[in-house]
């Protein structure tokens, strides 16, 4: 074997390790078979086919595609967020935000792969992961646009007076401003880490739980957005609501905020069958429930933050949107006043991002403890059902042979014949049922 062939064989063996364990045999098979092919171009062509197979099975193509899509999205967001006058204090903040967010998204994905494994092989998990990443990148874009509008000081006149009234005289890029940015980035890191963990292969959270939590979160996000499409200030940011706490939509939003995580937790817990879990069923159901509740409010918060910040970002650029929001055509200073107020109020969404997942976690934990808390004690026992008092202790095993008490010899002989007919293969002698029956019937195992 030439040096080149040995090198190629070594590379092939190494590359085969990229393939998931269940498929590795096939990659190794192509490589082993190459020794049968005549040396030269034919063997090279055979190995090229092996490389194609490995690339395909290792999902390298998908990984390269995902990486390219991510790179394109990042380049687009960075190019948009990078724009802006250097005189605007928000420009520097946004540039730092973009760099940090991209590092977070890429770095946490690599760390998650190292500790939790790759993405779960489920459409729901992939959808949630891609959707979460896309939402965070889009949020960066919207946030940069809103902040640059809010920090752009007008040259003079009535606009400057409005700016001073709404924003005050403080420097936008103050220590307080930077602290807010760091807090925002820490919250986003938490979101990314949670999404990566929930959707990873080693996570115990099943796709059905992901679907329930995400569905509840989208409903919650849409309703909260309808209540507060432009931040949380009542003065200018709830144009289609009277601003009353008893408005039906506001009441629905409160009910959903408190009820959605509990409902998602109970549905996810009830649906979970416990297959493949080493935990007792009640504990496993509680874990699924808490994950669904946390995910509901996490998705809800991200959804409303993205929709709201995006609306505010578009509002300063699109007259039709202002008209649609306020039901009338806003002119000059009035429009500017609303836009600036909304841009300033956008920070309220970050409070939503901070508090919603905590509410979701806490309430879903209370919900599942109420539902399965009483039965979540002791080790796994398939005989244990849901709640209620413990059943009677199982009877001890009877002495040898008495298991077959009441069974006639003819019946035992028939059973042995059937067993020996169907279990002729090696190892039948070690089968305790077959051996027990054969002993009881006084016949050797494996004979008809």
């Amino acid at each position: 074997m030439g040096r080149l062939s040995r090198a190629a064989a070594a590379v092939g063996r190494g590359a085969a390790r990229l393939v998931p364990a269940g498929r590795r045999d096939w990659a190794e098979a192509v490589w082993a078979e190459a020794h049968e092919v005549s040396p030269g171009l034919r063997r090279l062509a055979w190995r090229a086919g092996g490389v194609r197979l490995i690339a395909r099975e290792a999902l390298i193509a998908r990984r390269i595609g995902s990486a390219m899509l991510f790179a394109v999205a990042v380049a687009f967001v960075a190019s948009r967020a990078w724009r802006g006058s250097s005189a605007n204090a928000a420009t520097l903040v946004d540039r730092v935000d973009v760099i940090t967010t991209v590092l977070l998204l890429a770095g946490l994905a690599l760390l998650a792969r190292r500790f939790f494994g790759p993405a779960r092989d489920s459409r729901m998990a992939r959808l949630l992961r891609v959707g979460g990443y896309a939402a965070i990148l889009a949020l960066m874009l919207a946030k940069a646009s809103v902040e640059q509008f809010a920090d752009a000081v007008p040259q003079g006149g009535v606009y400057l007076r409005l700016y001073r009234d709404i924003q005050g005289n403080g420097s936008p890029a103050s220590l307080y401003h930077w602290f807010g940015e760091i807090l925002f980035l820490v919250i986003m890191a938490g979101y990314v880490a949670a999404i990566l963990w929930l959707t990873s292969r080693r996570s115990p959270v099943v796709p059905a739980t992901l679907a329930i939590g995400t569905g509840a979160g989208i409903v919650l996000g849409v309703v909260i957005y309808a209540v507060a499409p432009l931040g949380l200030s009542e003065s200018a940011t709830n144009p289609w609501l009277p601003g009353s706490g008893v408005d039906p939509l506001v009441a629905l939003a409160w009910m959903l905020l408190l009820g959605a995580p509990v409902a998602a937790a109970l549905v996810a817990g009830r649906r979970y069958s416990g297959s493949g879990s080493s935990l007792p069923l009640a504990d496993a159901k509680m874990r699924q429930g808490i994950a669904a509740g946390l995910l509901a409010n996490l998705v809800g918060a991200l959804f409303v933050t993205l929709l709201g910040t995006g609306t505010i970002a578009l509002m300063s650029k699109a007259a039709w949107l202002r008209h649609w929001l306020y039901g009338q055509h806003l002119l000059g200073a009035v429009a500017y006043s609303h836009e600036l107020t909304a841009s300033t109020d956008a920070v309220a969404y970050f409070l939503i991002c901070l508090t919603f997942p905590m509410i979701g976690f806490g309430l879903s934990a209370l919900g599942v403890v109420g539902a399965w808390g009483n039965s979540a004690t002791g080790p796994a026992d398939p005989r244990r059902g849901g709640g209620g008092p413990p059943g009677p202790e199982p009877a001890p095993d009877p002495p040898d042979g008495s298991l077959l008490a009441g069974v006639t010899d003819d019946e035992i002989g028939l059973a042995v014949s059937l067993l020996s007919l169907h279990l002729q293969g090696p190892g039948i002698e070690q089968d305790p049922i077959a051996v027990g029956l054969a002993d009881a019937a006084g016949q050797p195992v494996g004979t008809r």
Partner: protein, 118 residues
Amino acid sequence: MGARSGFSAQTQSVLAALCSQPSQWRHGYALAKQTRLKSGTLYPILIRLADRGLVEACWQDEPVAGRPRRHLYRLTADGLTAAAEALASGDELAAARSGARAARTGRGVEVRVVPWAG
């Protein structure tokens, strides 16, 4: 060919090769030579057939000295049935096509359409 049985022409050629000696374990290279498929085409087909339970695979027990163990393939009982059906439908289709070709060559002049006539 292939559309009726659900198998591509290449998959049918692999099934036909495996079907020719159904009880024998076959090597990948022998199948490649018989079907004239490249390794990059043959193995994905074998993987799909194995995933569907139509082909079983195992490693050679006693490899030739100095050579790595080889992977072996043969049809399962389901695979044999599916192969027989696929090859039969392929034969029917081929027969239908050759019949149509014969009809065209024999009577083509009579059925030729001239769209602009009339």
